[in-house]
Amino acid sequence: MSQTITQNRAMFDFKVKSRFKFKSALGLTKEVILQISQHKKEPDWMLQKRLQAFETFQKLKMPDWGPSLEKLDLNQITYFAVPDAKHDSKSWDEVPQEIKTTFERLGIPEAERTALAGTGAQYESLVVYHNLKKEWEEKGVIFEDMDVAVQKYPELVKKYFMTQCVPVNLHKFVALHAAVWSGGTFLLVPKGVKVDLPLQAYFRMNERKGGQFEHTLIIVEEGAQVHYVEGCSAPQYLASSLHAGCVEIIVKDNARVRYSSVENWSKNTFNLNTKRAIVNKNAVIEWVGGNMGSGTTMLYPCSILVGENARADHISVALAGKGQNQDVGSKVYHMASNTSSTIKSKSISMNGGITTYRGLLKISPNAANSKSCVNCDALMMDNISVSDTVPYIEVQNNSADIAHEATVGKISDEQIFYLMSRGLSKDQATQMIVSGFIEPIVKELPLEYAVELNRLVELEMEGSLG
């Protein structure tokens, strides 16, 4: 089957002129860390944590597996920049015009209008727009910029920030993140509170060679429920950019969290993100993810099921076009009895793109009666693309039930023929089949994200005739 599919990233590869209040020098030194900490007027314990992390970072080695990170020059990155906007403005009018233009093209105000519970939008390293509906404030939900949270809720942050969920020495890029993190979201849902509208933060990286190191910390107390949505998009530049964010989710007994994200960084970005959840007794974590952009992605959301009857659901879709390497997957550690997990992964590779599912499933000796089901499907659009599946399955308990399944294939000529015989063009037919392929994942996203994801896939696949 021959087809011409060209990708169109122009929609997201735009840039508006930025003004900066402050920008650190290129590269990472102790001085840069001191500057960041000073600028944020952080308490001493946080500074010490950063400095310790910096030491760990220098000691740790680069990963010796997965996609090549040779082109990533850690000395050519700005680790901290502050845009010239009034910090944390709550009204849309206060946001500078240039920044507004960027947000408008990404559809943020519309999303706001569709009655979302709150919006924290990150422009560079500062949250410039943050709005939380009064309703939730009354119930005690804390939805705050991470920088502010350090000042306002030091005890909570001290207790949970990179202590139990993601330890600083987990890997090199976590250590880097801990040293230079800036911005992000702090979300705490108190005991028994059910937040029924999704909370969302839209991140955006706009400085040339900009690094984005936002930290998301979500704590959901006993019996509480929340759906948190995060989206990312960045314009295209020539020099390599790095995104090394960190997401920590603590799901307490009987609580339920859904974390959805659409990541669409520009193609010269290295997206080396770390996401982890600790799931306690009877609690549920659901990860819904879409990876469309970035040149190289290494992202493996991880669930650690520590309580009995805990459950993890991972669903994700990855799309790799020309020059892209999407190395994604899921990790689940079953550490307690009667825990269960499902992983559903779909990937599309085209125009020489590489998609890899790299997963880990571990059943520890004390995880009796655990169940897990892994399902990976890959769709290949042409002959120059690559699709790999590398799942690691470790079972140390004999009462476990594990099933893994993967398929790789192409769009069948018969399906195309059928649709074309019904009057669709070849491009339309292909797009329709691809939409159907990722539908099980798209339907799990909130409406506006589902629309956006579908639109993105469509744009990525747009035929040469348009």
């Binding site: 599946t389 399955i393 470790e394 893994h404």
Partner: protein, 379 residues
Amino acid sequence: MSLNLSLEKNEPDWLMQDRKRAIEQFNLLKFPEFKYGLSIKLKIPEIDFSKITPEDSNLEIIAPKEVKVLQLNDSLNNQEVQENLFITSQITNKLEAFHRAFWNQGILIIIPKGKIIQEPIKIKLSPTNSIVNNVLVIAESESQATIIEELSEGKEYFSNYVEIIAQDCSRINYFSVQKLNKDVFYFATKRSIIKSSALLNWFDFNIGGRYIVSETSSFLGEKGAETNILGLFYGSNEQQLDIASRAVHAAPHTKSDMFTRGAMNDDSKSVYRGVVKIQSNANNSNGYQKEDVILLSKNAEANAVPELKIDNNDVRCTHGATIGQIDKEKMFYLMSRGICESDAKKIIVHGFFEQVLKKIENKDLYGEFNKIIENDITN
């Protein structure tokens, strides 16, 4: 074991060069860690190779007259041996380097062009010392044969390298039954090159040995080549099993199907690694991979790494892996019929293996395997 020792034998130059290169590699390479992914690790201790001295051991072979069987050591000047011996080997591993540097015996089997050999060719090896053995099979075009390899006894180290060159339109079955003593380190490499429209069926059965490192691989080099890789393993006591199957599709219209089942008992531990690699020129290829393991005891451990590496979109590939336990209902049913627990377990394992066994289209062999399962699988 010294370099001189093996070069004393007055061997042809090409082989001496090959051994020399292998010794260089052997000295450079580290003993493998048997570590996969983040935390899969087999407990296989490092071998002190200086203490291993492979000796010649009696190799029993029963073959019909039409088949040409020669001692490898006597046919080193044979053009075909020179061209094909170790053609499938790229030394990436210390154990393989050791094999290539210090192999001391082997046989060459040539199945002549167009000959259909009905009676199976039987190879029996029951050494009482360490051995480093080669089996080189050249199946000439349009030939057909079944080869059964039976490995028993053994001491310390057992290294076996089977190489099959399946020429155009040949159909070869190679069945291997490994029931070595329970203290032997078994290192097996089975590799093949499959030419146009040829079919190679592998069957790898592992029940003996202490440490089992076994790789079975097929290189589908020409159009229409096909391979089936079947495997069964049973782990008991503290056995450590590293089982790998590999199919490389390097030509259009090629097909591979892998199916392995295992049962793990006592404190045994296994890793199954399956790889289907489809190269970019292998249009219209199909690759299937399936692995199931049942865990029979609390301390047994099973790991799986089923990989797909696909560089062509005009293919159909799937893989599946399951790891589970004996169905309690089935156990209850059997025990309610008056069968004791250990017998019930045996029956279930037998039934589980049956799915693979029945794919072997050879009645004698089928019966033999059943006997082995019956006798060797206890508690």
